[in-house]
Point group: C2
Chain length 319, copies 2
């Protein structure tokens, strides 16, 4: 059973009864009515040692990444991050480790003006669970289900370098020391697209962040919107080092199926394209149009005229 279905089956058994809950389980964040004008967006993500990061990952990277993946969910809703709670389970108290871990957290909280408001410290196998909260104006929250037929599909940044780092750690590919350093930076210190999310929310019809992999996450967006998509791999902003090291075909496969990119996928109605691209250019945010939504409910990946098929559909626990 896939993680997605596990969550859905058991955790949605209780109907949403509270009037102050605008969006419950099923998107990047829940949305709570905070006032007449804004929602509070809430998300929770856990990183487990050996599952979500290699066991020898530096403490600073673990702190940074745990915050990043949560802020990325807020970014995907178009929310401004405000507060986080950090629950950490660790085998023993190591002051040096804790100093580095919290330094990794505070790098991001200071940059984004986010306050660490609480948490819990427990003894056990290493894992970190962060709950992050932000605010988003009503009518501007970006949900997965908002895409409409004909909307253009965009992605921010470059794709695949975190996945390449994991392949290199598993000795499936050999990188130069400099390439390895750059790829490890992408894996360990992902940059949540918070500013992009706040610009996109003015123009986009839907959004999701890439945590499970581009293909898996665009599939989540399509299912939520009851639509299909055509994506041309030639338009995907694959990190050049992937193509150098793996060749075009394997690079595309990795970019589509590896996770941990924490870029945003979003859909834009044709009438908003020019305005959005102009504003993103002004903000110096790289985005690429990779395809278009359609009514087929199929996920078609092509290279030019040639349809491709992919067996793997991204990172899933328990699969």
């Amino acid at each position: 059973m896939k993680e997605f279905e596990v969550i859905k089956e058991f955790f949605t058994a209780q109907p949403v009864n509270r009037k102050d809950v605008a969006m419950g389980i099923g998107d990047d964040c829940a949305l709570i009515h905070a006032s007449d004008h804004k929602y509070i967006a809430i998300t929770t993500d856990t990183l487990v040692s050996g599952v979500h990061f290699p066991e020898d990952t530096p403490a600073r990277a673990i702190g940074h990444k745990a915050v990043s993946v949560n802020l990325s969910d807020l970014a995907a809703m178009g929310a401004e991050p405000c507060w986080i709670s950090v629950a950490i389970t660790l085998p023993s108290v190591d002051s040096e480790w804790l100093a580095e871990f919290t330094a990794g957290i505070f790098e991001l909280t200071e940059y984004f003006n986010v306050q660490l408001i609480g948490g819990d410290t427990t003894s056990g196998p290493l894992s970190v669970t962060i709950t992050a909260q932000g605010t988003v104006p009503k009518g501007k929250a970006l949900c997965r289900h908002g895409a409409t037929n004909g909307d253009w599909v965009y992605v921010t940044g470059e794709i695949g370098e975190a996945g390449l780092a994991l392949q290199a750690l598993r000795e499936q590919v050999v990188l130069s020391p400099r390439e390895m350093q750059h790829a490890m930076e992408a894996l360990n210190y992902p940059k949540p697209q918070v500013l992009a999310g706040q610009i996109i929310r003015e123009y986009a019809s839907s959004a999701i962040d890439i945590s499970d992999g581009l293909l898996a996450d665009v599939t989540h967006l399509c299912r939520a919107s009851t639509l299909g998509v055509n994506i041309d791999v030639n338009d995907i902003p694959i990190a050049p080092v992937l193509i150098d090291r793996l060749g075009e075909e394997d690079a595309a496969r990795l970019a589509l199926t590896a996770g941990d990119d924490y870029q945003l996928i979003f859909t834009v109605p044709d009438t908003n394209r020019v305005a959005l691209e102009t504003e993103l250019n002004h903000a110096n945010i790289k985005t690429s149009c990779i395809g278009q939504m359609n009514t087929s409910q199929e996920i078609n990946i092509s290279r030019g005229d040639k349809l491709l098929s992919f067996a793997e559909s991204g990172f899933e626990h328990f699969s």
Copy 2:
């Protein structure tokens, strides 16, 4: 190093800069300005298998207890619980286990009109982290630091039965099957004092819930209020089965130092005593006056005129 100090040293390194944060780290909940009239109270607690509950604990009890300990923190602030997020890490997907686990969660969320709004499911050693949120009117939030000299110290319910269950599981005491069943119910299915918290907030000057043990938690309250306390063990509502099975002295020791009671300790100015006791009686909530705050900054535990000393001061991780 004690858990309390671990949290304090590293996680409070970032100053509170956001104006919307009324209370950061250091109390049972953080408090966020939600509107002119109310705060949102936020708390996070993790339960790790083998640390916070025995490994063979039923799934329903784990779900129930994980919600209870978080609602207990909201109760200690006088907050009305509203929304929870559940992050669960489990070794494998077991549908029967998940059905029982979520049943344990939903028992409490339905009773208290709380909405499960999100979470995360990951693969790894069993642990549960819940973030719970509630609302409390401004001016009514119960903090640890609010006690004043001469305030009376109260505790809800009965103390020590969860600790007795743990002793019985460790074969340090023998209980009858019926006593064991009752004690296990106290350990596995603690009842968060949500209603009590909402009544108390109208009259009390401070409050804390008992998770680490009566002695440890009353010490936290005293330190936060920069006061001391005199407590007479004859006034502590020790569960009668403790006295039957352990004798007076060991029963008092266990009641003071075992954790997992999830009752509330609170302080009440003399002028509010009668009104509070009357209202709690009407609501059928058992409370006991166990002592009085003073300026000594010492925690004095006596039996009548005889001062007692306790080496252990409650449940601490990593100690």
